[in-house]
């Protein structure tokens, strides 16, 4: 797999991580082109179905970005998201998907530099573990 490049889906909260990504762009911080950002109203809006659908449709890594604890615009959306994500991650690991493939971080609107750094870090981690096993399964026609 020499010419393989990772494909990363980022669910970014409109009020923090998405603004952080915007800031990273304005400040000309470089982050990998493998990152595809999907804007959502809140990290709490990201259902487990979204993450699994992304993985099933060929994403090698899925990232969910929300507001720091206590800073949610909807009071507790990010806390809920944290619990859902933790449980989903346990289940996905149990189903044979590497824990590193899904990640959640709190990134505020002012953390443009941190956004770029985390994206680079996540991308490197995905490159290390290789392509998504679900994609491999479907490519081999066993799905």
């Amino acid at each position: 797999m020499r010419d393989w490049k990772p494909n990363i889906v980022v669910f970014a909260c409109n009020w923090c991580t998405y603004q952080g990504a915007d800031l990273a762009g304005s400040l000309r911080y470089v982050y990998p082109s493998a990152v595809n950002i999907i804007r959502v109203p809140c990290a709490g809006r990201v259902e487990p179905e979204f993450i699994v659908a992304a993985l099933k449709n060929g994403a090698d890594g899925v990232f969910v970005g929300g507001c720091h604890p206590g800073e949610c615009r909807y009071k507790e959306g990010n806390h809920k998201a944290g619990r859902i994500f933790k449980l989903l991650k346990t289940v996905l690991t149990g189903m044979g998907i590497e824990a590193e493939r899904v990640r959640m971080e709190w990134i505020s609107a002012s953390e443009g530099k941190r956004f770029a750094e985390i994206m680079a870090e996540f991308c490197t981690a995905i490159e290390r573990i290789g392509p998504n096993p679900i994609r491999r399964k479907y490519n081999e026609g066993q799905g």
Partner: protein, 319 residues
């Protein structure tokens, strides 16, 4: 309304509990039996062979009930034949509709399963290391065949087009009665839908705090069914027993919560839910009080995907 409705029934990979649910119709069965013409009911009730079913004209059977999941080549074959012969094909029961309890086998490979069953269990006595073969020759001249054991469990829908789904493990006899009457009167819902009253288990559960005008609180502890005894009349989920009634179709009339057992989702997902297990993860995790409680949920994959693993988006363990 027709005088007689031709019915075919096949027990596939299930346990036979769904057959029992039909027998449980009792008085309703007495009323409807004269109007049913059972042309095929294998292997439990009628003495008919696959070749008899294969010989029938296409679309000559009005309704086919298929219970059980598809794991063997033989089951897949009958599923395809039933689809050809039946005007309406119903995935009857949790196994046919979602994969059911046997669907949890999708967490293991075929090799692991054969290894456990034919070698590792304490009661196994297999010194020659014999495992099932699809063909074998006995006495040098008799060729015997056995169905192929596929690598994974599939719900009926993944094999052929299904017209209706009936949930439950087994389906509640009242729902079966409604379904049979709907078939006889030709009052079936739009194709490709579930035959259900459309209500969640919580909707019909007496323990539901909303019914009693109480406030719903976040869950403070996670308990297994073996931890203590639940308080009478109080919501099981509120007490920490992880009940999936909120997203399960309540055609059973909340039978399990009535006897202190939390709902595990055999009734199938309520309308609007695509992947039962994933939605259950969101529902339960969102109602927990803290993140620490998430780690206390015992064996989460087999809790949330107990009846729906093969029909879920991931379908089983990625190997």
């Amino acid at each position: 309304m027709k005088d007689k409705v031709k019915l075919a029934y096949f027990l596939s990979g299930g346990c036979g509990g769904c057959d029992m649910a039909i027998i449980d119709l009792s008085e309703t069965l007495v009323d409807v039996l004269p109007r049913l013409d059972v042309v095929f009911w294998a292997p439990t009730v009628a003495d008919v062979k696959y070749k008899d079913l294969e010989a029938m004209a296409d679309k000559s059977i009005d309704v086919g009930l298929y219970s059980g999941m598809v794991r063997l080549s033989e089951q897949e074959h009958v599923a395809r034949v039933m689809r050809e012969k039946c005007k309406v094909l119903i995935a009857y029961g949790a196994c046919a509709a979602l994969g059911g309890i046997p669907g949890m086998a999708n967490m293991h490979t075929k090799e692991e399963i054969l290894q456990t069953v034919y070698f590792d269990t304490l009661s196994t006595d297999n010194p020659d290391g014999i495992v099932p073969q699809t063909r074998c020759v006995v006495d040098g001249k008799f060729e015997l065949s056995l169905a192929d054991f596929y690598g994974h469990v599939r719900p009926l829908e993944h094999v052929v087009d299904v017209d209706y789904f009936i949930g439950g493990c087994p389906p509640h006899h009242a729902l079966v009665g409604q379904a049979v009457l709907a078939i006889l009167e030709g009052k079936l819902p739009p194709p490709r839908s579930w035959i259900t009253n459309g209500k969640a288990v919580c909707d019909v559960c007496d323990r539901n705090p909303a019914v009693k005008g109480e406030e719903r609180e976040l869950i403070k502890t996670v308990k297994r069914t073996s931890d203590g005894a639940p308080e009478e009349g109080r919501c099981l989920l509120q007490q920490g027993y992880l009940c999936l009634g909120a997203l399960t179709q309540g055609d059973c009339g909340s039978l399990c919560p009535k006897v202190n057992i939390p709902c595990r989702g055999c009734g199938g997902p309520i309308p609007g839910v695509k992947d039962f297990g994933l939605r259950a993860i969101a529902a339960i995790a969102a109602s927990l009080e803290s993140e620490e409680l998430v780690g206390q949920i015992p064996s989460p994959v087999k809790l949330f995907f107990r009846y729906s693993l093969p029909a879920s988006m991931l379908g089983g363990k990625i190997k």
